[in-house]
Assembly symmetry: C2
Homo-oligomer: 336 residues x 2
């Protein structure tokens, strides 16, 4: 897919970010706004200690329509109890007041330290006047959601008259399960919420859900898509392909910039019984500490590959017909 | 359980080890012999690329009687195809000839590099005359099976008239699944093979199967028990308790001496629905890279504990009634 050299927003989307003092100097607040109502869908972490923004987000997304995403970094509002949920609601209300929409049309995200109360007063004050800062550059918003990411991540591509734009952050505590870290997709294509939901899940399963930096699943993972329709209808199959391609590219950007990462490891599983087993085996390889140390040390070790495949005890593995390649070189043929 | 200050063997068991040139100078061959037939049981790795010694061992243990365990370190005889299996059989035959028993009464183990042919000629020559070296010190045998272990591991205790002795090696590629690395248990208690099998599985499930150094499951894991009966019958319940206690102590020795390990992490899960969920949650904690780095850095982080518990999506987790302690200090009460 031909991604733009410099990411742009679809028609009607803009964003802004600020430092409001949650971090010493870096941006810590981001606002993404559609000038008209957008159909929306989202998937969230399956971690059983979801943050307050995830609990509220599941409720918000049921409406299927959003005007904005409002996010802060530094503090995740996780393990903060009833008060945390109230803070998440106040956060949505503060952005809604600034934009002039209903709080139910604002999806909120928080990322950062777990177990610390959200500085909600600072955020309520901080969002005031932010509407005046809105720009059409997605990098501006990406800057506001960074934690230990080394650079802001945004991508975009054109699909006929429509544009699709991805903004995300990753880094540590990353093995998304049915979701990802914070990843937002914006498009001006005209698609309804059920279609977005179906297409987003399909794309996420093949991309963000196969990502692992450290095999640890965050409590804040959120992937949302907003479609404001300003570019009119699109071919759904083409949109699905483009959506998946952009999610895959963003997945690799997140993996490359994982906390402490020096290498990107891609695995390809062929000939497995079904997609579930292929994904299980590929994940076993990328999550194995002995495979990671092998890649880091640039020391190909077929025994570790065998081990990581063989420990998938719930998959059908036939040693005598198993072969393996590293960078195109066959290192194992028919089991040895 | 009162372990002996210096490990001893039960009546009728002796061992020897040698350097035969598989390693530059360290011991690389070990022979454990009972002077009379012993009832025996064993569990092996569930990795789907089992080594040739594991494939042969599953066949051997069906007889339920052993005279000896014969093991080499440095080369694991894994991913070596039909020839590897033939080498494992030749290894059993060579030890049997030296001892004067049937090859079916010798359990063989190999540990070390995967995918390299076993130097079977060297081993066949190396075992000759080894019977003359047999001593009653289990440390001698433990030395012969070391890979990157920093010291030889053996334990023993008395149970009435009987003695139970454990010899094991661990280090890397360690998250046993229905077995462990190489761990041998010797006793002069009189117990039949079915009882040994039942008690060994019970002990291993609660001990070696809960061990993790690096979350990677070896292709060679083997845990065997030999009971030669020379001390007469024992109370089975007392024997089970002692067997489990020794396996637990050995599990902690293996964890403490894990490759690169500087800390021992013990987790206790309480109030879970059943034992399966308790084990699942405890394993999620010890295998989490973010928990490991927290312990290594001595930086208690409640968010990482929540995360590791919450990512057990197949367990019942109720955040509002979840509490956590680190070294006896409550760090989380009722979810936050």
């Amino acid at each position: 897919m031909p991604f733009h050299d410099r990411p742009v927003f679809p028609r009607g989307f803009r964003c802004a970010s600020r430092n409001i003092g949650l971090k010493p100097t870096a941006k810590d607040l981001a606002l993404f706004v559609s000038e008209v109502d957008a159909a929306a869908a989202a998937v969230f972490t399956r971690n059983q200690f979801p943050g307050a923004p995830v609990i509220l987000g599941r409720e918000t997304i049921r409406g299927g329509r959003l005007r904005a995403i409002f996010a802060n970094s530094k503090v995740s509002n996780v393990a903060t109890g009833e008060r945390g949920l109230e803070h998440a609601r106040r956060m949505a209300a503060a952005a809604a007041a600034e934009i002039g929409c209903a709080p139910e049309q604002v999806l909120v995200s928080s990322t950062g330290v777990i177990g610390v109360p959200l500085p909600i007063d600072t955020i309520e004050r901080g969002v005031r006047g932010m509407i005046a800062d809105l720009v059409a550059d997605p990098i501006a918003g990406a800057e506001g959601i960074m934690t230990t990411d080394t650079y802001p991540k945004a991508l975009s591509l054109s699909l006929g008259e429509a544009t699709i734009t991805w903004v995300a952050k990753g880094s540590g505590m990353i093995e998304p399960n049915m979701a990802t870290m914070l990843a937002y997709v914006f498009t001006d294509a005209a698609l309804d919420a059920p279609a977005l939901d179906r297409m987003l899940r399909h794309a996420v399963d093949a991309t963000f859900n196969m990502l692992s930096v450290d095999s640890d699943t965050s409590t804040s993972d959120t992937c949302a898509i907003l479609a404001n329709g300003l570019a009119g209808p699109v071919d759904e199959a083409a949109f699905q392909d483009a959506l998946t391609a952009g999610c895959l590219r963003m997945t690799e950007l997140l993996a490359r910039d994982g906390e402490g990462a020096t290498h990107l490891l891609r695995t390809t599983a062929r000939g497995s019984k079904d997609l579930r087993e292929a994904r299980r085996i590929a994940k076993s390889l990328v999550n194995s500490p002995l495979i990671k140390t092998m890649v880091y040390g640039a020391d190909p070790n077929v025994g570790r590959i065998l081990m990581a495949v063989g420990k998938c005890v719930d998959c059908i593995i036939v040693p005598a017909t198993t072969s393996a390649w590293i960078n195109g070189h066959e290192v194992l043929r028919d089991g040895y």
